[in-house]
C-alpha cells in the first residue's frame, strides 16, 4: 500500500525548488503547471517539468503533475509533457464532474500509445474546488480505474460558497471535507486535505492537520517543504498504537499458522480490516 501523507507542490517554473524538492522526502511531489506559473512562463515551465521528471532524483519518488484545465490553451500541452515525461499521476484541477475524468482518461491513453508507455500506466487524481465538484464527488472518484486519489482545494471552493477561512474549527469546510472523504472511501482511493497557506504559522498548520487526520484524510497537499516533516510527525503513530499493531499482526500470524480464520485480541475480533489498519500503522511508523 502506497503511503500518501504529503503531496508537496513545486512550481514548475521555479528552478531552485525543482532542483531540491526531493531532498525533503515527501511521499509525493506535485509539479505545478497551473496556478503557480505565470501565463508567460507556461511553455518554459512545461519543459522544466518534462525534464525534471526524467532526472534520476525523481525516479525514486512518486511524481504528480498538476496540469491546466484541459479546455484552456495550455491543458493538452501540459498533458503531453506530463505523460510523455513519465509522471506517475496527473492531477486535474477544478474537476466538476465525471465526464471530465472520462475525457482526461481517453486523452492520456492516446498520449501513452503515442509515446510508448503502457496504456493504463499513468494514474489520475482530481481536485475538487467547487460546490458542483463536491456534489459530484462520488461520481468523480469512481469515474476511472486509474483514479488513485481525490483532493479538496479550499480557496476556490470557499469563493464558490461565498465564504472564507475562519482559521478555527473550520465549519465552512466541514461538508466538503466529509463529502470528498466519503467519495474517496467509497471508491477505495486516497483523500487529500486542503493546503495551509500561512507557512510561518506552524501552530495553525498542525491544528488543521489534526482536523484532517481526525476526519480520516490520508494526507494533505503542502505548499512548503518545512511542512513535510511537521505533517509526517503529526501522522506518526504513538508507541501504544505501534505496540498494538504488532500484537494484532502477531495474533493474526498465530491464527494463520493454526489454520484459524479469525482470532480475538483483548476480547476484540482481529479480522482483515483490523489487520490492514495495523499494517498501515506500522508503515506510517517506519516512514516517520
Amino acid at each position: 500500500m502506497k503511503l500518501r501523507r504529503s503531496m508537496l507542490f513545486v512550481p514548475g517554473s521555479n528552478a531552485g525548488a525543482l532542483s531540491t524538492a526531493f531532498i525533503y522526502k515527501p511521499d509525493s511531489i506535485m509539479f505545478d503547471l497551473e496556478d503557480a506559473v505565470a501565463q508567460s512562463e507556461k511553455d518554459s515551465a512545461r519543459l522544466m517539468v518534462f525534464q525534471a521528471l526524467r532526472h534520476p532524483a525523481y525516479q525514486e519518488i512518486e511524481t504528480v503533475v498538476r496540469v491546466n484545465e484541459l479546455n484552456t490553451q495550455f491543458g493538452l500541452k501540459d498533458l503531453e509533457a506530463a505523460v510523455g515525461g513519465g509522471a506517475d499521476i496527473v492531477r486535474l484541477p477544478k474537476t466538476e464532474n465525471a465526464d471530465e475524468i472520462h475525457d482526461l482518461e481517453a486523452r492520456v491513453a492516446r498520449i501513452e500509445k503515442a509515446c510508448g508507455r503502457a496504456v493504463g500506466d499513468t494514474k489520475l487524481m482530481a481536485a475538487i474546488e467547487s460546490a458542483s465538484g463536491v456534489v459530484n464527488a462520488v461520481a468523480i472518484a469512481t469515474a476511472s480505474k486509474r483514479m488513485i486519489a481525490i483532493a479538496i482545494a479550499g480557496f476556490d471552493y470557499l469563493v464558490d460558497m461565498h465564504t472564507r477561512r475562519s482559521n478555527g474549527s473550520e465549519p465552512e469546510l466541514f461538508y466538503a471535507r466529509a463529502a470528498v472523504l466519503h467519495a474517496a472511501r467509497a471508491a477505495h482511493i486516497d483523500a487529500f486535505d486542503v493546503v495551509y497557506g500561512n507557512i510561518d504559522d506552524d501552530e495553525g498548520f498542525l491544528r488543521e492537520v489534526a482536523i484532517a487526520k481526525g476526519l480520516g484524510f490520508d494526507g494533505k497537499s503542502l505548499i512548503h517543504p518545512k511542512q513535510v516533516e511537521l505533517l509526517h510527525r503529526a501522522y506518526a503513530p504513538t508507541k501504544e498504537e505501534v505496540d498494538h499493531a504488532n500484537r494484532v499482526l502477531a495474533a493474526a500470524e498465530a491464527a494463520h499458522r493454526k489454520g484459524l480464520g479469525v482470532v480475538s485480541l483483548d476480547g476484540k475480533m482481529v479480522d482483515p480490516p483490523v489487520i490492514e489498519e495495523a499494517e498501515m500503522v506500522l508503515q506510517r511508523a517506519q516512514s516517520s
Binding site: A15, G16, L18, S19, T20, D43, S44, R46, L47, M48, F50, Q51, A52, R54, H55, K77, E80, A81, G84, G85, C115
Partner: protein, 98 residues
Amino acid sequence: MKVMKEAIAGTLESSDLLVKVAPSDKGAREIVIQSEVIKQFGKQIKRVVAETLDKLSVSEGSIVIEDKGALDCVIRARVQAAVLRGAGSEETDWGTLS
C-alpha cells in the same frame, strides 16, 4: 530548427540560468557560456548545451548562457524554451526533447 528572432528563457536566480538566443548570419552556432561553476562543470555544461541544440537541429545562431549552478535538466529545459521561442514554434515534438 532555425532561430528567427531574439528570445530569452530562464532567470538569474540560484540553480537557474538565463539563455539568450538570436539569429546569426555567420552560418554557424556561436555559444558563449558564463557560469559560477565553470571550472568544475564547464565541460559538462557545454556538452549538455551542445546535445540539446543538436537534438533541436539548431545549426546556426547566437546562444549566450549565464548559468547560476543549474542542474542538467534545468539547462536542457531553458535552452529548449529559448530556442522554441526564438523559432516561434507553437508545437512541441516531445520525442526530440527527451
